[in-house]
């Protein structure tokens, strides 16, 4: 049975805009390559990866996960609000998403201070070298995401988005969710898996 016209339109819908998806796929390829580096390093140094997570603060990784997932939830609500043409609610949810998102670099700062105080620096071994490279790289992408959310917050504030035209806001949201997806892989790699 063929799909009805509205179903087929929905199936072709590109959330945000095509440009953001080019960027997202580049980011996914970049991290997939970094994950391969992780697996190769793990294959060559199984002992280092078996004991490595013991010296990291699981609470920091867990807190970052909760912050990102909660911030992502706020962006789901923001997109939902703009579709209802509720500008105030949209702005409120975006600002909350930014506040939670900024919690990530704050937690990361204290985590790195704690790491260094406990001898977990870039010379602590291969596991920690890969850990710093991957997590700091992710932090850079999260920073772009926070800046993007700031931009769409300003655009929301000046009334640039409507229920029918909010591609920019949706693009920022899907990029933000992509940083979630990548972190959901990074978190078990360094704090759980042995």
């Amino acid at each position: 049975m063929s799909a009805s016209a509205p179903d087929s339109v929905a199936a072709d819908r590109v959330p945000g805009n095509k440009g953001i998806w080019v960027g997202i796929f580049c980011v996914l390829v970049e991290f997939l390559l970094l994950f391969i580096v992780y697996f190769v390093a793990k294959a060559h140094h199984p002992e280092a990866f078996l004991t490595g997570p013991d010296k990291l603060a699981t609470v920091a990784g867990t807190t970052i996960t909760v912050l990102l997932l909660s911030s992502g939830y706020c962006m789901v609500k923001a997109v939902d609000a703009v579709r209802r043409d509720d500008r105030r609610a949209t702005l409120r949810w975006i600002v909350l998403a930014i506040v939670l998102g900024i919690g990530y670099p704050v937690v990361k700062y204290f985590e790195i201070r704690w790491n260094i105080a406990n001898g977990v620096d870039d010379k602590a071994g291969i596991f920690y070298g890969v850990y710093y490279y991957l997590t700091l790289n992710h932090l850079v992408h999260v920073t772009w995401g926070i800046l993007g959310l700031g931009w769409v917050a300003v655009r929301t504030g000046i009334g640039a988005y409507t229920a029918h035209e909010h591609g920019g806001l949706e693009a920022a949201a899907v990029y933000w969710h992509t940083t979630d997806v990548i972190w959901l892989v990074i978190f078990p790699f360094f704090y759980v898996l042995r």
Binding site: F25, L28, I36, L50, T62, T65, V174, H177, V181, V185
Partner: protein
């Protein structure tokens, strides 16, 4: 009153995160841990892609690529666990 959809997904993701954190704290290793971690990555990734990004009702090609990412990585987790020595041999320099 039933809980709205987005809230249910958010709470499910937090619950799965708590499970991951607990596994991390127990310090175990082996096939059971690798299989659980692979399952958690795939499930959490699927929930974010379909319910946060709204891909369930969007472009199928983009959705497939995103799902490929969150299903390939768990596959690599299992490959790495089962064939670590072979991977080391294949990627040895010199």
């Amino acid at each position: 009153m039933t809980m709205p959809h987005a809230e249910r997904i958010w709470i499910a993701l937090l619950g799965l995160t708590a499970l991951g954190a607990w596994l991390g704290e127990t310090g175990g290793h082996g096939w059971a841990l690798s299989l659980t971690v692979a399952f958690l990555i795939a499930l959490k990734g699927h929930l974010v892609i379909d319910h946060y990004m709204g891909m369930r009702d969007a472009n199928r090609t983009i959705r497939r690529v995103l799902h490929a990412f969150v299903f390939v990585v768990p596959g690599l987790v299992l490959l790495s666990h089962g064939f670590g020595a072979a991977i080391a041999r294949l990627t040895a320099i010199g």
